[in-house]
């Protein structure tokens, strides 16, 4: 039977050892190396490109998980990184997924789950648990990068201007300072290349911004 060749990259020796112990009990998984930072990992992978999976921590000295993920993409290898981290925030999960992680695990994940994920990923599939997925989606929905000319806030400001609100009223409604509104307004004028509010409204209507 073909074993899953696995590398553990974590700066905590105790953790590495614990994980190693745990994985040893599964015959289909072979821990071929333990490294303590990203640089060591890249060096090892370069000389052992046949590695299947790397269990990669994010917080590490010298080169952290993100750096390692980046580097791995540029090496001709089939290694599939699984992030195993203490961070449970959506930002980390989304960033790792974007950078090519096949899965994202929290360090206190049960061993059953861990082994399950290793097996799924070794088959070439990405896997994110429902818990992790939810966090990631939460984050992504909050941070959609708009490709519109105006930002979401600027559009709001523009709408309120077109309704005849004063700067002060807009500030109160949007929970920002008057100066912020003035700056937004100046930025909108600049972006739409107009000189005054009247021109702004006409152009905004023409562009179907409001």
């Amino acid at each position: 039977m073909k074993t899953i060749k696995l590398v553990i990259a974590d700066d905590h020796e105790l953790f590495r050892n614990g994980l190693n112990e745990l994985l040893k009990r599964h015959d289909d998984i072979e821990v071929i190396q333990c490294v303590s930072d990203g640089e060591e990992l890249i060096k090892f992978i370069k000389s052992n490109p046949e590695t299947d999976i790397v269990l990669l921590d994010i917080s590490m000295p010298n080169m952290d998980g993100f750096g390692a993920l980046n580097k791995l993409k540029s090496i001709n290898t089939n290694v599939k990184p699984i992030i195993i981290s203490m961070h449970d925030e959506g930002n980390y999960i989304a960033k790792c997924a974007k950078m090519g992680a096949y899965s994202y695990l929290l360090k206190n994940t049960d061993q059953e789950e861990l082994v399950k994920v290793v097996r799924i990923v070794s088959g070439g599939k990405k896997y994110f648990s429902p818990n992790i997925s939810e966090k990631m989606i939460d984050y992504m929905s909050d941070n959609t990068v708009s490709k519109d000319i105006l930002s979401k806030k600027e559009t709001e400001v523009l709408t309120l201007i077109s309704k005849g609100n004063t700067t002060k009223e807009i500030a109160a409604q949007l929970y920002v300072s008057s100066r912020t509104i003035e700056t937004h307004r100046a930025n909108i004028l600049k972006k739409l290349n107009v000189k005054n509010t009247a021109e702004l409204i006409i152009k905004a209507v023409n562009m179907k911004l409001i």
């Binding site: 974590d10 700066d11 905590h12 105790l14 953790f15 050892n17 614990g18 994980l19 112990e21 745990l22 009990r25 994010i58 917080s59 993100f66 203490m86 961070h87 449970d88 925030e89 930002n91 980390y92 960033k95 360090k107 206190n108 049960d110 061993q111 909050d142 941070n143 990068v145 930002s151 806030k153 949007l174 929970y175 920002v176 300072s177 100066r179 912020t180 700056t183 937004h184 930025n187």
Partner: protein, 533 residues
Amino acid sequence: MLSITFYSQFSEVLTNRILQQLNSIKTLKRFQVEKLIKAEWESFMSTSDDTFSGDTLKIRLPHKALETGIYDFTKYDFNNEFTIGLVDASNGNYRVKTIPYKKIMNILLERTGMGETGESYIVGEDYRMRTQSRFFKDSTPHSIVVKTVGVTNALNDKLGKGLYKDYRNIDVYGVYGPIQVENLKLVILSEIDKDEVEAPLENLKERLFILMFLVIVIAILISLFLTRIITSPILNMKNSLKEMAGGNYNEINEFTKNSNEIKEMFEALDDLKKSLQGAVNFSKEIGSMNLNSQYTPKSKKDVLGKSLLKMRDKLLEFRNNEHISRIKNKRQLVEGLENERQRLSRELHDGLGPLLTSLKFYIDNHVDDKELRLEMGKIIDNTISEIRIMSNALAPSIMDDFGVGAALTNFTKDIKKAFGVSIIFEDLLKPVNSKITKNQETHIFRITQELVNNTLKHAKAKNIRITLSEFDDFISLFYFDDGEGFKEDHVILGSGIINIKERVEICNGKIQIQSKPRNTTFDIELPIDNENN
């Protein structure tokens, strides 16, 4: 002085004039007398028939032979009346004639230009007067003894003039000289009383004195007047200056200004006063550390003003330096604190966390009883999540990796979950090329944390709105809650507003706080591109 010189000159001239006139009178009289005698003599000598005996001539001639000549027979006259005798003893005849006293007196009585006291008279060698005195008309001239300086000198054949005492013992101006006819020993004198001569002088003197007196009185009056109009303002000015020298620039009275010069002096004094007051006010301002007050030096030579300005600038510099070093100290303190927190947070998160997971692996590996294993795993999971919360509260590692926007999003999410308030955070930082610095991020995170904590602790708010916006030149953090609000000056020290203000100050930012029930806002602006941050 002038009048005295003038007077003495005038008196000298007058005296000379008088003496000259007297001299001419005397000379005239002398010539007339001499002429008369000579004429008598010649007529006497030309007629030889006239003979006189002593009896007819009322003279008692001495019985000795007299030679031909002219004689003074006064002492032989019965009445001692002035008699000039002509004797011709030639040819054996003995003829005698007298010149009538009246003829001589007629000459001498002609007193034109002699005033009230002027007279001319003849004195014999016996110092007795020969002709009638103007003053003693009743007494015989022979009885009057005239032994004066003039007579004495004239008897010694001297001509002269001068001021001396006459026979009445009165000061007179006199001119004297001998009558030179044959062997007559007579002197003629023309005199005038000094008093009369000097009467106009006395008059002048008197007038001069009166004039002098008047001048003095007027001078005194004028000087009194001048004193009033000049001295008293000057004295007042002196007092004012003294007051000013004593350091009092305020209580200087207004004075009446009489003349232009005095007025100008007072205006100058007033200007001085004003400029000093200006300087005093300015230094007061500086004294109360109001260093933005302005002062324009009165002129290029306003040394006081200039040094005050210099002082102000120095103080400003000191204050700025002090401010800078204070901010620096604070910043270092806060940075130290933040670093320590971050270290501790990392230690918990990355140190203790993995150890606990290791423990969990260990349990998984070594505890065979599945129920016990799950139980222990659960406890460890709770511990880990507790540590994660602690670590995030100390310093969220997410801020390091994803910035303050992510950290605050996370933070507000946690708060919402834990406290159930409506809290909305809007992250309007630039998604790419954000110019916010690590330190600004830390401060913004701490400020927001503090604000949220305050709201939760004191305000009983239902809604919290936080907006973090980034623009080209500044970052705006706007915080709103609809809680009870507070009065800024009543805020208790512990409530964190001081910390917030300090952090804003460290970032060279601005903060505006407005609070009323159901509407409390914090408007914080931090500048971008400030090298100090």
